[in-house]
C-alpha cells in the first residue's frame, strides 16, 4: 500500500516529468521515418514487362519507356537527394513487404498458419489460425481454423462459425465489406438503416481501440432482446486508408448466450486483419 511519502514522491515525479510527454508524437514521427520509410515505386517494373512484347513493339516501347524512365529517374533522384539532405534514413533491417509491383500473391507474403493466445476465464488457450486472403480487396486475416471458415463472395466475405449449432441458433460469424471513396458518417447511416431493416435497435455506439481503432455500433433485437438466442450485431467501421478513404465494415453476428466467448474469438481474428493497400 502506498503511504503518504510514496504518494508525495509519485505525484512530484509525475508533475515534474509532464512536459516530456508532449514530445510523444514527434518521437514517433522520427521512429517511423527511421524504421518504416515510405516505399518508392520500382523503376524496373516497366522494363520487365517490356521483355514480353514483340521486337518492334519493344523497340518503340523502349524508346518511350526510356524517356519516361529517365524522367522518372530524374524525379526520383531529385526526391532522393532532397530526402537524404533532410533525413539521411538508414535502410530498415527488417525486410519490407514486397510491393504490389512485384506481383507476388498476398498468400505468398504471409505465413500460412500462426498461433495466437487468449485467456478465456483466466485459462490460457492457444488458437491455431489459418491465413485467409482477399486479393481484390487487398487484405489478409487469420481465421481460427478449428471453429471458423472463411468464405469469399463477390460483395462481401464471411467468416462463418462452423461448430455444430443447429437451426435453433442464429447465424454466427463476421461479414467483411470494403468501401472505397467513403466517409465514416455515410457508413454509419448505412449501418443504421441496415439495423432498422433487420428489426434491430442500437444499444451502444462508441469509438474503440481494440481489436483496432474503429467506430463500433452494437445492436440488439427489437423484440425479446434478452432471450438466450436473441441475435446481437456488432459493427466495426474501420478506416483502412485515410488518404484514399478506404473503409471496411465488419459485422459480427452473435447471440446473447454465446456473446462472451464468440465475441472474444472474433476480436482475436480481427486483431490480425491487415489492409495491404493497392
Amino acid at each position: 500500500m502506498m503511504d503518504h511519502e510514496d504518494k508525495f514522491f509519485r505525484e512530484s515525479f509525475l508533475k515534474e516529468t509532464n512536459e516530456a510527454v508532449d514530445h510523444k508524437e514527434h518521437v514517433w514521427h522520427n521512429i517511423q521515418q527511421e524504421l518504416f520509410p515510405k516505399k518508392k515505386k520500382s523503376l524496373w517494373t516497366g522494363r520487365i514487362a517490356m521483355g514480353f512484347g514483340t521486337v518492334a513493339a519493344a523497340i518503340i516501347i523502349v524508346i518511350i519507356s526510356t524517356s519516361i524512365l529517365t524522367t522518372e529517374r530524374a524525379g526520383e533522384e531529385g526526391k532522393s537527394e532532397q530526402h537524404e539532405q533532410l533525413e539521411q534514413p538508414e535502410q530498415p533491417e527488417k525486410p519490407e513487404q514486397p510491393s504490389d509491383d512485384t506481383k507476388i500473391p498476398l498468400e505468398d507474403q504471409y505465413e500460412k498458419e500462426i498461433q495466437m493466445e487468449r485467456e478465456p476465464e483466466g485459462q490460457l488457450e492457444i488458437v491455431d489460425m489459418e491465413l485467409a486472403v482477399h486479393e481484390a480487396d487487398r487484405y489478409i486475416i487469420y481465421v481460427d481454423k478449428d471453429r471458423f471458415e472463411y468464405k469469399m463472395d463477390e460483395d462481401e466475405s464471411f467468416i462463418q462459425f462452423t461448430e455444430a449449432e443447429g437451426d435453433m441458433y442464429p447465424e454466427v460469424g463476421i461479414t467483411i465489406r470494403r468501401y472505397d471513396d467513403a466517409e465514416e458518417q455515410d457508413l454509419v447511416e448505412r449501418v443504421n438503416e441496415e439495423i432498422a431493416d433487420e428489426d434491430m435497435v442500437i444499444e451502444e455506439e462508441e469509438n474503440m481501440s481494440d481489436p483496432f481503432d474503429a467506430y463500433a455500433i452494437t445492436a440488439y433485437a427489437n423484440e425479446s432482446p434478452h432471450e438466450w438466442n436473441s441475435p446481437v450485431y456488432r459493427y466495426y467501421i474501420y478506416e483502412a486508408d485515410e488518404e484514399e478513404h478506404v473503409y471496411f465494415v465488419f459485422k459480427q453476428m452473435l447471440f446473447m448466450e454465446g456473446m462472451g466467448g464468440q465475441s472474444s474469438l472474433m476480436d482475436l481474428m480481427l486483431e490480425t486483419f491487415e489492409y495491404v493497400g493497392e
Binding site: 511519502e5 508525495f8 515525479f13 515534474e16 514530445h23 518521437v27 524504421l35 527488417k94 485467456e119 490460457l124
Partner: protein, 181 residues
Amino acid sequence: MQSSKERNLVKKIQKGNEKAFKKLYDKYASYALRTAFAMTKNNADASDIVQETFIRVYRNIDSFDVQMPFKPWFYRILINEGKRVLEKRKREAMPIESNENLDAIQQTTEKKPMNGKILEALDHVSDDDRTLMILKYVDRFTEKELAETMGVNVNTLKSRLLRARKRLKEVYAGGEFHDGP
C-alpha cells in the same frame, strides 16, 4: 506476468507489423519519456533516448523470448540508452585530460539548491538508487519487476529500495512531507 494480448502484440512485431509496433509505442512511450526526462532533465535528450530505445527494440525484437515479460526487457534497453547519453554528455562537458574537472563538477552539483524539486534531489543519490527511484515512482514498478530489470534477487532489491528511499528523503530538504499516520 505478461498478458496474452502483449505476447500477441510482440509476435506481430516480430513479423514486422508496423501497426502492432505503434500500439506498443502508444502503451510504453509516455512513461518511457518521463523516465528518460527524470534521468536527464533535458527534453531533447529524453526524446533521443526514447527514440533510440524503440528503434533498438524493433531491431532486436526477434531475439526477445515472448514467454518472458516484455516490460523489464524494454526498460533495461531504455536505462542503458539513458546511461549512454548521460556518459556522452559528461564527456562533452569536460576535456578528458582534466580529471580534476570531474570532481569540481561533482562538487558543484552536490551544492546545487533543490528548489523543492524531486528531480533535483535525485542528483544527490547514486546512479543505481536514482534508477530505482525513477522506476518505482514514475513507472510504478513492482518489486518483482524492479528485481528483474536490475538483475538482482527480490531480497537484495528490497534492501536497496529502503536505502534509496531513505537517501532521497534525506536529501529532499524542507520537510515537504511528513510521516504518515
